[in-house]
Symmetry: C2
Subunit: 365 residues, 2 copies
């Protein structure tokens, strides 16, 4: 375990756009920089959650050029060289390949955990235990471990992992082979999946030896592997330009599709903690305190004969509701959002609408 | 007509509380001081509407002590002595009695039109013609004229006047005897009333010779008449104290109940103009411009897949709606209201709730 501890790295993927959290999120301030649940921004909460796993020197962040400064500001203790800038978003496969290659150059024996910056996990101790067990599994079985979450309800906004044969435990965490990955299902399909008792939510978190991941890239996405190899073989001063060139030519592709669905050594860990990707304003209802009528709110709010509402009042002043059900209200200094909870996913349509208006574009920035 | 012109007075009743227009209306700024329809506040719009009828010297306002300064500010051209202060609200009968007595002291032949400060009338020319014709009718027939409005739909928020026998016209306006007054009816009753073709909305506007009104007070509310007589017989310096004493002891009673429903010489004028008392935020929908989806708004608003909403954005910044139907949103600098259009009347409950909260009370002031 000592060797494992020394070789464990955590990489936070922080490239999100977060249009669905308008008006709190703006072009330069996506979801991971917002304080949605807990006292800190989501990326800071994520970094704090991983503090027990790795020292700052082995905590990396992949982000965009536009957000690099905000990342450094949010995570003042991690070294600047640990902030890896992607020239543009190309989904998770190029991102994970690049980080794996960079870590491998420093440490051939590294085990890397890759986690999104903008998810909520309620129980840090259980999370830490799961990642430790997954790392041990990855190390001893040369497995690519993906983290699945015991589903609470038939959510249609998540992908699912159908677990196959149970395999030996490592520590308290359960592990299974993966029977198949399922993309975001329709409602009826989600209910079927839950009913099988073998489906897990795909949390988009992965734990693997970097050498195993690079082998899988070589095997399943050889062109990308070759490009990564060229980048890493180049003198350090040339790396940014070569990364830019790589990203200019590579197609966006997810790590699930590029590698995990094909590799034979994929294992799913049954994450026992509560997890939520908080995909929209309506999702915060599960994390804030409720009043007697099932409203959740932050800031000065007066609700009369209203129920099931989500109110984020983010600036001085009062929000008054009368006779309202299941509506989201978000009030910031210069903007206001009102929409039914069931339409919270469509806030991105509003952001598009604002972007397309010369007069209103500034409210997306 | 010349004698009529010289003897015509208009009194604007401006005592409203206007809780239903929170957060734009506050304790010191009720509905009549708000800009709801048109470029000016409702009381200023009302004064402008009456400019063609009377000079400023014959335009009076009855208001509360708290609002007297705001009235003077809103109506800078009328003499300060024309602003009559009621010590407290006692409904319309004491108010109309007091003004009638005060006008009668100056001019025994006066014809007085009493109109609320906070109603919307779309066609000023038709309104002016109706008041002129009503004044002629009052003068020649010694009638107490009440203004009825041809109803557009079975509104349950208004009282109704059932017209009886048609009587001779004066000018282009139709007049009828009054069969009876009907208080705010339930929906089914309102539909029946409309179906008769003889029901008019009670607009709360009256035109009469002050001597006729005072005779009716003497006949039907003699105690109030006696008190008014004492007040007006006193030296001017004592009037305010005597008015205070009168209001401290008199019961609140409406002019309809105290006089109009009893007097034999009551006549209703069929007002042909569009009229609305704009009783709540949902009522402004009839007066502002609609977008293609039936939303009405003021200020910077972006509505996506939304319809039938009423949005008043009263300060810099944007209001964004997504997937919302028939909701009222009012955004001011320090407060926000969100409620279904069907619950717009209940905004006063929210104001009560705020008043009862030590932390939030300031938002009603």
């Amino acid at each position: 375990m000592n060797a494992l501890s020394r070789n464990l790295y955590v990489c936070i993927m922080a490239g999100g756009k977060g249009e669905r959290f308008w008006p709190l999120s703006r072009d330069g301030r996506p979801k991971q920089f917002l304080r949605i649940v807990g006292p800190h921004s989501m990326i800071t909460e994520t970094a704090l959650r991983n503090r027990a796993l790795v020292p700052p020197s082995r905590l990396l962040v992949v982000t965009t050029r536009a957000q690099a400064r905000s990342v450094a500001h949010a995570l003042p203790t991690i070294p600047r060289r640990n902030i890896i800038v992607e020239p543009c978003g190309r989904n998770t496969a190029p991102c994970i390949g690049l980080v794996s290659a960079m870590v491998a150059r420093d440490n051939q024996d590294a085990v890397l955990a890759v986690v999104p910056a903008d998810h909520v996990i309620d129980d840090t101790a259980l999370y830490v235990q799961t990642i430790r067990d997954a790392a041990a599994m990855a190390l001893r079985e040369q497995a690519l471990v993906t983290i699945g979450i015991e589903p609470q309800f038939p959510e249609t906004g998540y992908g699912y992992i159908v677990a196959g044969r149970r395999i030996a435990r490592r520590g308290p965490t359960k592990f299974s082979r993966v029977e198949r990955f399922v993309e975001k299902p329709a409602r009826a399909r989600a209910e079927e999946l839950i009913a099988t008792g073998r489906a897990l939510w795909n949390a988009g978190m992965f734990v693997f030896r970097v050498s195993d991941m690079l082998y899988s890239f070589w095997r399943y996405v050889p062109a990308l592997h070759a490009a990564l190899t060229r980048v890493l073989a180049a003198p350090k001063s040339l790396v940014p330009r070569m990364v830019a060139d790589l990203y200019a030519h590579v197609h966006g592709i997810s790590i699930d599709y590029a590698v995990m669905e094909k590799a034979k050594n994929v294992v799913v860990a049954h994450g026992p903690f509560r997890w939520d990707d908080v995909g929209s304003w309506s999702a915060v209802a599960g994390h804030w305190n409720r009043d007697g009528a099932g409203n959740v709110s932050r800031g000065e709010v007066a609700a009369v004969e209203s129920s099931g509402c989500v109110v984020a009042n983010e600036c001085p002043g009062v929000v008054g509701l009368v006779g309202l059900e299941d509506v989201v209200v978000v009030r910031t200094r210069d903007a206001l959002l009102v929409c039914p909870k069931s339409k919270a996913q469509d806030v991105k349509k509003l952001v598009q609408h604002l972007r397309n208006s010369r007069a209103l574009r500034s409210y997306t920035q």
